[in-house]
């Protein structure tokens, strides 16, 4: 490993890190979307169970 090599590649390193940042942001957003959907599915299941108890 050589810091001088890293500095020589600085412009492309910045592009690579920005691209990776975009992928990481997608990962975090996907996690939030997943939790939100799972919460909605759980609420829908509870509502269905409650309606089932009332009708019986």
């Amino acid at each position: 490993m050589d810091v001088n090599v890293l500095m020589k590649n600085a412009p492309i390193v910045i592009v690579a890190l920005i691209t990776w940042g975009g992928v990481f942001a997608y990962l975090v957003r996907l996690e939030m979307l997943t939790r939100n959907l799972e919460k909605q599915a759980e609420i829908a299941r509870e509502q269905r169970d409650e309606e089932g108890e009332i009708s019986s």
Partner: protein, 211 residues
Amino acid sequence: MIFNIIIGIWVTAGILMGFAKTPAVQLVDTPIAFMHIPMAITMEVAFLGAAIYGGLWLARRRPGDDAMSLAFAEIGLWFGLIATTTGSIWAKVNWNAYWSWDPQQTGIVATLLTYAALFALRNANDDENKARDLWAVYAIFGFIAAIFWTYMFRRLLPTLHPENIMAQSDDTFKTVLRFNYLGFILLMIRIVQLRARVERASLRLREMSWM
């Protein structure tokens, strides 16, 4: 979230180490190989995962296995596209052309087209269980096709791609490359897990809306 942070630090460190490494044997003047090669390997691992979960769906009939198989194949396709793009940048620097129809380049395009066709076939079927059964077979077939196109095809024809890079390279090169393999595989597995959870939650919501 902790897993995401670990992956974030791991991949960032891998990128920095790759760009700080002096070129290795047969890899002239570009560190992008530290992304291109791990991406291609990760694509193969993802397609293997799709085939394994396809087989599990056939054996156990659990919708979660089908969701995992589909997620592995989808994410594998994306990693394959990135591997192709980074590979053509590497080719421009080393071979003076973005695309030369080298057997490895042709092979990865054939692999990606195979999976694109398999996705189209799955989506063409309206019966969900039949689509899952067919998909499981497609996923197993797709992995066999991927191994042929990306590992065997290049050995049948003369290729510009460097051979035995790992064996001829120094220890630091090998370590950084393996570090990046693991980082990208962890990233792929995390995205697949989340993608499959989205699919399962959507399925539960759809099932409840029908009741």
